[in-house]
């Protein structure tokens, strides 16, 4: 009895997490948590995932189309896809449960143990049985504005919002406009529609909650003087985004709404709903997206005139400055430093007339054919309601309240936040936040990581429960061809019986059959039985896209005891019947050829295996600043050992010299807290005065040689084994500038030291001129991101010490993005004078010996004349440069540096904390200059990515990778030069030598190879083969090659 009572009270706490919001942030967070072996409920209010990003066509600054970089609307990411494959229905991560049309009703409990009530509205369509044939939408008589295209096209009440929405299924919108005709239910060929479906109430037990609610776009109708909503050719940025997108209503050809003609002149108006009286913050992203839209216009529309009306150019991330320069110099986009006061419309032409004053105060009137309002970000619609349900605080702007040093925690323990819900931010910051929030959850639920282990054999194909694999080596190929009708989607256009009877006569084909709905469980079971009873050893399924269905059919052949690579999926639906509807004869021939090629390929196919390797459950963190310590603590708190390496005498990095921040928090308290926790943590081994001198191995199994300099001068070398590496080597304020020789010219950091240690000197100052954006002449030009806010904080201090002190700030652009704008406002309110200068006429600083004072000579652009400013002190905001030794370390780690000298991540937008080389991650200022809170988020994000590997007992490596035949290798080094990941090495391994016994042979580590096959195409002696894409499989000589139409 006693024992029973105990077992009842000690209930296992949930190893599950609730992620609210199915945009890019929510998806990223869910994926990291799922990888770490936690169960995730991903809750989304709308019928599909994707959020705002799904509506974007291109991403700044590389103009990667979102299509190939991985959003759920479209498909995969690049090379090692980052997000979306895990959300493709048949390939879905086993630990993620997607709950669409779902909202939160109530949350009870405490951190580590919450009980959440959810309400799921009916979709009326079974996701499992919907094949996206679209007959329901054709039958539906109700037309509604398509919200995905911002009302520029129509959709039906039975609809799928985007061609490749996730979940990949239709839904029925049964609002008051639905007349309940039930045509959709009657016509559905798979009986997937049930109009009697009722809302579901669900209750889930979770250990933590992550809020990824995103944002809503500012409603520009509030600004009546701009005419949005009244003048047809004044559009908001999201509308322009759809017009410029290939999947938009005009397939990417921008037309103006009034007459559907291509505009000859377009104006962008910045800061709509930002940096004004009502919305005092900066929306952070609009400068960049407006520039992107203007560049796209220049690239696509002939002779278009693009003008951007802007206050400051806020380009504060990697390569963003270069992007602005390109926009201005290469594309000829005009940037006007103005705020447009009003827009008038010419009623005859619907052209728009803008009134503005130039910097000299002269009034102008300019005519444009189209005006785009760069609307700002507002807190998400659901923010206030959810904050009450969840009992979390919102800040003065209505966004989620967070602390500077805990940027991802809400006011309620166990509830975390990521993305634009905490402050306006773009994709890359959202991704960083999302992984960072996942790390916070992993720390909280450290005793429950790996509760739901999964194995990554094929991207997300779990190997659990498959029968042992049949060895088919040496067996005569016995191919089964299954052609799917897909309802009538395929069979209406193709003569499948003729196709299979033809296929049945080809050599090695044992079975050729037509089946209906290959993806349905009953058909999968049928095919599995056929494979087993007929003893097939190769399978061809002619159905729909292999991108969406490979994993489903791979699972099928695994269940039938075959290697998953002895399968070919023929993409008859997406790449034949749907795109050649009018040419049935040719489509039939093409289909036959596609199947024949697949048969040829599958006959040449060989089993491919991945190798299981244990992961050393230890991390190496390089750099002991705020980022390194944060990452080390997140990993150690989650239960894994860490080697923390710091080159200097003390832990702390830049934090050692930071005494106060604009927000008023004390960085020294953070420093003490971090150092105390690091030093006392039993899982962290700290190595000070230590460098990494060698870094070898691969993900899960690295070996690094560390070199420690003892205070007595002795040098000690030792080796550590680790599964992952985090690079957090930081950055430094540069000091290389001729002006710093002048007395009274100091750096910002020196000013801060003075303010803290010699306040009496500061109080005595009468004239201070602060100069922004100072760098040595030979260094690259980029925005150091943090200087403007630091200058505000210092200028405010100077004014507090001595209100009569004349403080002048000479700047090019004030970059106080997000809520930091309030310090700019505060500085101006206190009387700090801001004077803009340009690169053409930079300020000149001289020392006037007659007056014994500094003189700063600058052109005042407002008055358009040169002014001489006397100064007691001239603090320079010096550029922030990568830490010394970055180049050497990058060479050791074999990772690249960007043009600005910072470490280059795997992908700028979607993988900001990963390197291309697996198992190595990036955190903090080593990536780019950052604020403390941003460094903390980035460090947590790197820790989360590291924990997804550490929490697995073993890793699956290899698979579809390149293999070298050493007997053919001549050691020419072509592969080492062409590999984009620098993986091939010419080594003498296992006694292997190349032709002529010279210099060894190329070796490609299967644990590192990314499987792109570039080396195989370049190898002059054809010594390299990419598994599953071997020459034999690609050339298809046995069946007459690719080009043979007729057989």
């Amino acid at each position: 009895m006693m024992q029973m009572a105990i077992s009842q009270t000690i209930r296992a706490k949930p190893a599950a997490v609730l992620v609210v919001g199915g945009g890019i942030g929510g998806m990223r967070a869910a994926l990291d948590l799922a990888d770490a072996g936690l169960k995730v409920y991903l809750v989304e209010q709308t019928p599909c995932l994707g959020g705002r990003v799904a509506q974007l066509g291109f991403m700044f600054p590389q103009h990667d189309c979102v299509l190939c970089r991985g959003t759920p609307d479209h498909g995969y990411g690049c090379t090692r896809p980052s997000i979306s494959p895990a959300y493709i229905q048949n390939n879905q991560h086993p630990n993620i449960q997607i709950l669409t049309n779902t909202s939160i009703m109530d949350v009870e409990g405490e951190a580590g143990d919450f009980s959440v009530s959810l309400r799921q509205e009916p979709r009326y369509v079974s996701i499992a049985r919907c094949t996206s044939c679209g007959l329901c939408a054709e039958a539906c008589p109700v037309e509604l504005p398509n919200e995905y295209q911002l009302g520029m096209t129509k959709r039906k009440a039975a609809y799928k919002i985007a061609a490749r929405a996730t979940p990949d299924a239709y839904c029925i919108d049964r609002g008051p406009y639905c007349d309940d005709c039930q045509e959709c239910q009657k016509i559905c060929p798979t009986k997937a529609i049930n109009l009697d479906e009722q809302p579901r109430l669900l209750s889930v037990e979770v250990g933590a909650v992550i809020l990824a609610l995103g944002f809503q776009v500012y409603d520009a109708t509030q600004l009546e003087e701009l005419g949005y909503g009244r003048y047809p050719n004044v559009v908001q940025a999201m509308t322009y985004e759809r017009l410029a997108s290939r999947s938009g209503p005009t397939e990417g050809v921008v037309v103006r709404p009034s007459d559907k003609l291509t505009p000859k002149s377009i104006a962008w108006l910045q800061c709509i709903g930002s940096r004004d009286q009502q919305n005092t913050f900066c929306s952070s992203i609009c400068c960049m997206y407006a520039t992107k839209e203007a560049i796209l216009a220049k690239q696509r529309l002939k002779d278009v005139n693009c003008s951007v009306f802007i206050m400051d150019e806020r380009a504060f991330n990697k390569e963003y400055s270069a992007y602005f320069n390109k926009a201005r110099n290469k594309h000829g986009i005009h940037y006007n430093r103005n705020r447009v006061s009003a827009i008038r419309e010419d009623p005859a032409t619907h052209d728009l007339i803008l009134h503005y004053a130039d910097p000299n105060g002269k009034l102008h009137e300019e005519r444009f054919e189209m005006v785009v309002l760069a609307t700002g970000l507002q807190p998400p619609e659901s923010a206030s309601q959810l904050s009450e349900i969840l009992d979390i605080e919102l800040n003065q702007y209505g966004f989620c309240q967070t602390d500077k040093f805990t940027p991802l925690q809400t006011s309620r323990p166990g509830v975390f936040v990521c993305g634009a819900f905490s402050s306006p931010k773009e994709i890359v910051e959202t991704i960083i936040d999302a992984s960072g929030a996942a790390a916070e959850v992993m720390r909280l639920l450290n005793d429950r990581l790996h509760t739901y282990p999964y194995t990554r054999v094929w991207p997300f194909l779990s190997d659990n429960g498959f029968p042992p694999e049949r060895d088919v080596t040496g067996d005569k190929p016995k191919v089964g061809v299954f052609a799917c009708t897909c309802g009538q989607t395929i069979s209406d256009y193709l003569d499948l019986p003729a196709l299979v009877s033809q296929a049945g006569q080809w050599p090695n084909v044992a079975v050729a059959e037509v089946i209906e709905y290959a993806c349905f469980p009953e058909m999968l079971e049928y095919m599995r039985d056929r494979i087993q009873s007929e003893g097939l050893n190769r399978v061809v399924v002619a159905a729909c896209s292999n991108r969406t269905h490979d994993s489903l059919f791979q699972r099928l052949v695994c269940q039938a005891g075959l290697n998953p690579y002895l399968l070919e999926v023929v993409n008859l639906r997406e790449q034949c019947t749907r795109v050649h509807r009018e040419q049935k004869e040719q489509a039939n021939r093409k289909a036959q050829e596609m199947v024949r090629v697949a048969v040829g390929r599958v006959i040449a196919a060989q089993p491919v295996h991945k190798d299981k390797m244990p992961c050393v459950p230890t991390a190496l963190v390089i750099g002991g600043g705020v980022s390194g310590m944060t990452a080390a603590l997140a990993i150690a708190d989650s239960g894994y050992d860490v080697h923390l390496v710091e080159r200097e005498e003390r832990l702390g990095g830049n934090l050692l010299d930071l005494y106060y921040v604009a927000e008023g928090y004390n960085p020294q308290r953070l420093l003490r807290d971090l150092v105390n926790r690091v030093c006392s943590h039993q899982r962290i081994t700290t190595h000070i005065r230590t460098d990494v001198v060698r870094h070898a191995g691969h993900v899960g199994d690295f070996n690094s040689e560390l070199q420690m300099h003892r205070p007595n001068g002795a040098v000690e070398r030792f080796t550590v084994a680790h599964g992952v590496t985090i690079v957090a080597t930081g950055a430094r304020e540069t000091r290389e500038h001729a002006l710093l020789i002048l007395p009274g010219v100091i750096t910002t950091r020196e000013l801060e030291e003075k303010i803290i240690h010699h306040p009496e000197e500061i109080a005595a100052l009468k004239d201070v001129v602060m100069i922004q954006c100072v760098r040595s002449e030979d260094s690259p030009d980029y925005c150091s991101r943090v200087c403007c806010t630091n200058t505000m904080k210092n200028a405010i201090r100077l004014k507090l010490f001595n209100p009569n002190c004349r403080v002048t700030v000479l700047y090019k652009n004030i970059v106080t993005y997000g809520f930091r704008e309030e310090y700019y406002t505060e500085a101006r309110r206190m009387g700090v004078v801001f004077t803009r200068y340009t690169d053409e006429q930079p300020p000149e600083v001289t020392f006037d010996h007659n007056f014994d004072r500094l003189v700063v000579r600058v052109r005042d652009l407002t008055m358009d004349k040169i002014v001489n400013l006397h100064a007691d002190l001239v603090p320079l905001s010096m550029a922030i440069a990568p830490a010394d030794g970055s180049e050497e370390l990058a060479r050791q780690l074999r990772v690249p540096l960007s043009s600005e000298g910072f470490y280059e991540e795997a992908q700028m937008k979607l993988r900001p904390m990963d390197f291309m080389r697996e198992g190595i991650f990036l955190a903090g200022m080593a990536h780019y200059p950052k604020f403390i809170e941003e460094s903390i988020s980035h460090a947590l994000a790197a820790a989360a990515r590291a924990l997804t590997l550490l929490s697995q007992e073993s890793l699956w490596l290899g698979g579809v990778v390149a293999q070298v035949d050493p007997d053919k290798c001549v050691g020419c080094l072509t592969c080492t030069r062409t590999c984009p990941f620098q993986i091939p090495q010419v080594v003498q391994l296992d006694g292997r030598v190349g032709i002529g016994g010279l210099g060894g042979a190329a070796w490609i580590d299967p644990a590192q190879c990314q499987g792109c096959g570039t080396c195989t195409g370049e190898c002059p002696s054809s010594a390299i083969q990419l598994l599953h894409y071997t020459d034999e499989q690609m050339m298809l000589r046995s069946i007459g090659g690719l080009g043979a139409w007729q057989q």
């Binding site: 061609a163 969406t548 993409n571 749907r578 040719q586 579809v960 050339m1035 690719l1042």
Partner: protein, 65 residues
């Protein structure tokens, strides 16, 4: 011979092949002459593959990635 053209399109599985899928999803029509061959990356493309396609009777080769 039917006299139809044949174009072999080598497509990167992550972008161009996905785009071809999207064309299918949107029911955009294009000539059946185009035969899409999926590559893991356009880097995989070997000059021999292009020559081979011509040798086998292709009228054109398209590389997209």
């Amino acid at each position: 011979m039917s006299g139809d053209l044949q174009i072999v399109a080598y497509c990167c599985q992550h972008c161009a092949y996905a785009a071809a899928d999207l064309a299918g999803g949107l029911r955009m029509q294009y000539p059946p002459a185009v035969r899409v061959v999926m590559l893991p990356c356009t880097g995989k493309l070997d000059a021999l593959l292009v020559l081979q396609a011509f040798e086998d009777g292709a009228d054109g080769v398209m590389v997209a990635g």
